[in-house]
């Protein structure tokens, strides 16, 4: 089961976080001024604390995610945790699907039907989930390279548009924005859920992936915020997708605008994130499966994906419903439950593997 290295896991997390930055965080929370720099820093520190139970769990139950030790303790206990986790994971997938579709209809194809956009993306993500965690990790390296190339292109053209005088060093907004921005930042940190499931798939030191990812995400998000402030100044307050706007202003040799490349990279990153979430769901289904019937598990995952598309359609096509759902997700409750509470419970109540009779290795 030890499929990838901790560096690959960190790269995978950076890609999923990158997609969230563009398509999940609502533009209204990316405001002009220094407050967001501090809200990102505070959010990352809190996320590090939230990660601790999962990290300790990965150290105690080496080579396993949260579910196996829980089931080993008690099947009912494991089932309850699995249900709670699936609910949280469902919220993350729905949020990603809806926001991705909004992004597509806002900036790419304004006349694309909601259901078509969501379905095409979900099919690609479903295929990725079937290929497995290791395949998605390898794919994320390609996405990371594409993402890095895009960033280099944007940065290379930013010098003539950036103005250091747009920055100002003082907190002059009220504290409410700081809190809202920080909570939104925490709520989009779905990587903690993925870690709780897949920490056992990392060859060694999975916690290193968390530290590297958090450091990289901090630099990445602070870098984005700096770029937004330097180029867009106070107009940042009026924009929904600031990075898309900046890339559309970028002019590199024959490419008069980079927004097309930008959307391809972000959609690609988002498909990886969705595939990873579906793969996590698949992992939970297989943990409960009594027989290794792959086809049945694949069909179950497909049914789950179709249900999600239906719910995403229901929530995403009505503004009132969408706003309610969005305000619910911004409480970060699902992250707290699935990313921290469940690993903490497993850490406290989970059962370690026992030594096989006369053997030196552990067995289930």
């Amino acid at each position: 089961m030890n499929e990838i290295s901790w560096k690959q896991l960190a790269a995978l997390f950076v890609v999923t976080r990158a997609s969230a930055e563009m398509t999940v965080i609502p533009g209204e929370l990316i405001l002009y001024g220094p407050d967001r720099f501090w809200s990102i820093l505070a959010a990352k520190l809190i996320v590090l604390i939230l990660f601790l139970p999962a990290i300790f769990m990965s150290l105690r139950f080496k080579g396993e995610g949260f579910l196996v030790p829980a089931i080993r303790k008690n099947k009912i206990f494991g089932s309850v945790l699995a249900i709670l986790f699936m609910l949280s994971l469902t919220v993350v997938i729905l949020e990603t699907l809806i926001n991705l579709q909004l992004y597509i209809s806002d900036v790419i194809f304004d006349n694309m039907l909601f259901i078509i956009g969501v379905s095409v993306i979900s099919i690609a993500a479903y295929y990725g989930a079937l290929k497995g965690f290791s395949a998605i990790s390898r794919c994320s390296i390609f996405a990371l390279v594409m993402f890095a190339v895009l960033m280099v292109l944007i940065a290379s053209t930013a010098s003539d548009k950036a103005d250091i005088n747009y920055l100002y060093p003082s907190f002059i907004r009220d504290g409410e924005y700081f809190i809202r921005s920080m909570l939104a930042e925490i709520s989009s940190c779905s990587e903690i859920l993925i870690f709780a499931v897949f920490c056992g798939h990392v060859r060694s030191k999975p916690h290193n992936a968390v530290f590297l990812y958090l450091a990289a995400a901090l630099v990445l998000l602070e870098g984005f915020t700096l770029l937004y402030n330097l180029i867009l100044g106070p107009y940042l307050d009026h924009l929904e997708y600031p990075l898309y706007t900046i890339s559309s202003m970028s002019d590199v040799v024959i490419f008069q605008r980079l927004d097309g490349i930008d959307s391809v990279v972000w959609v690609f990153c988002c498909i990886i994130k969705l595939a990873l979430c579906l793969c996590a769901a698949h992992n939970i289904f297989t943990s409960f499966g009594s027989s290794p019937d792959k086809l049945r598990q694949n069909i179950l995952l497909a049914v789950y994906a179709v249900i999600l598309i239906g719910i995403a359609y229901f929530l995403g096509t009505d503004k009132e419903r969408y706003d309610t759902f969005e305000s619910m997700t911004h409480t970060s409750l699902h992250i707290l439950v699935a990313g921290t509470l469940i690993p903490l419970m497993v850490l406290i109540a989970g059962k370690k593997r026992t030594l096989a009779k006369g053997g030196s290795k552990f067995e289930k």
Binding site: S170, I172, P234, Y235, T245, D259
Partner: protein, 405 residues
């Protein structure tokens, strides 16, 4: 078998995305009106917006060359409506084409419309993510439509001439250019100011325009007859339009535009012609490597600004300086410095104090340096900036070079 599977997967991955075009309602290129320039006017009597468009005329392309210059390569269309969007829709209906704004190079705001909300007008072009974000924005001295009506021979399309004029004027330091996002950023500050190049139709003896009637290369004024007949309508940048609180408050001359560009530090180089006495021939000095900084100051709760500048001066014509004539050289340098300071002072007096337009980026600098002061006075910041005294100092250092020496 595994190889075959991979091959099928690869072919599917390449071919299946082609089918995705069926998921959206797409428009063939020939059915698109590729907009090159937009003029927006407001008709106060009928209370409607009037949008004039220059769009690419595709019949001119094909064969060996992409563009056939013997044909007029842009066509004009107009639309009217109660909003800018409505006017664009009307223009689209009249042309029978789906309008594509992603290649639009220039947005011209008519004089009457400029008296209303500039931000609201421009929001049409930025809220649609497919509009070109690097399009220039300019104001028309009269109507935007009369600028759109004029077709130029130069450039792949007629609009190239206008955008090249704006780019070149900015490069020469005589008029700041303004892209659509520059305008939106400037309008986001509390003074909601913007300064746009002012385009004016003039009759001049040139042959740069194309007659609309014939589509030939004859100028609009025709080719025969005397001197009067040889004049044709062309477009010039006559200065700038100053906006405050999103509305046109006045227009500046080319000198004012040069002063603004100097203060904002966007001037790559600027030629200054001066006379040391009334009878002498003017000497031209080109200022380059300009370094102009504006520093806001708060003293006893009072806001003021200090502009401190330096530039090297290159004599373009050595008309009266002889080697070792330090006195004449100093006198010339002093005159250049005084001219530059006067240019900035005049621009400040007219654009900032009279029109209340913060084209100089003072609010940006104030927020950058004194955010708490800005926050405490945020409701009154425009007035504070308008009345704030500005101290200007400029130093020029002659830089002798070239074979003339």
């Amino acid at each position: 078998m595994a190889k075959l599977k991979r091959l099928i997967a690869l072919i599917s991955a390449l071919i299946l995305p082609l089918c995705l075009s069926g998921c959206i309602q797409y428009v063939e290129l020939s059915e698109r009106g590729i907009v090159q320039a937009v003029g927006v006017d407001y008709l106060p009597d009928s209370k409607v917006y009037r949008m004039s468009l220059q769009y690419f005329f595709q019949s001119g392309e094909g064969g060996q060359n992409q563009i056939d210059k013997t044909q007029p390569n842009v066509l004009k269309s107009v639309g009217e409506g109660v909003s800018v969007f409505d006017a664009a829709e009307d223009a689209s209906v009249k042309t029978g084409k789906d309008l594509l704004f992603s290649e639009n190079r220039l947005i011209i705001i008519g004089n009457e419309l400029a008296k209303y909300d500039l931000e609201g007008t421009l929001s049409f072009f930025v809220s649609n993510y497919h509009s070109h974000p690097r399009a220039y924005v300019a104001a028309a001295k009269n109507t935007a439509e009369e600028i759109i009506d004029i077709r130029f021979k130069e450039g792949n399309v007629s609009t190239d001439k206008l955008t090249n004029m704006i780019t070149n004027a900015s490069r020469r330091g005589t008029s700041p250019d303004c892209r659509i996002y520059d305008a939106m950023i400037s309008l986001s500050y509390s003074s909601r100011s913007a300064y746009l190049p002012l385009l004016e139709v003039k009759e001049e003896k040139t042959d740069v325009t194309v007659s609309q009637e014939s589509g030939s290369s004859q100028g609009q004024g025709g080719s025969g007859g005397g001197e009067e007949e040889q004049k044709e309508k062309t477009v010039v940048i006559s200065g700038g339009a100053a906006f405050s609180q999103g509305k046109l408050t006045g227009t500046g001359t080319r000198g004012d535009s040069a002063g603004i560009q100097l203060i904002t530090g966007d001037t790559p180089e600027l030629s200054v012609s001066v006379r040391t006495d009334d009878d002498s021939k003017a000497a031209t000095v080109t200022l380059f490597k300009l370094d102009i900084k504006t520093i806001p100051k708060i003293s006893d709760g009072k806001l003021s600004f200090k502009i401190d500048g330096f530039g090297f001066g290159r004599y373009e014509e050595r008309v009266f300086l002889s080697d070792g004539d330090d006195e004449a050289e100093n006198e010339l340098t002093l005159k250049v410095e005084q001219t530059v300071v006067k240019s900035m002072t005049d621009a400040l007096e007219k654009i900032k104090t009279q029109y209340g337009c913060d084209a100089f980026g003072f609010e940006k600098l104030l927020l950058h340096s004194y955010p708490d002061f800005w926050y405490d006075n945020r409701d009154n910041i425009s007035e504070l900036i308008r009345t704030a005294p500005v101290e200007i100092a400029f130093r020029c250092q002659p830089y002798i070079e070239g074979i003339a020496n």
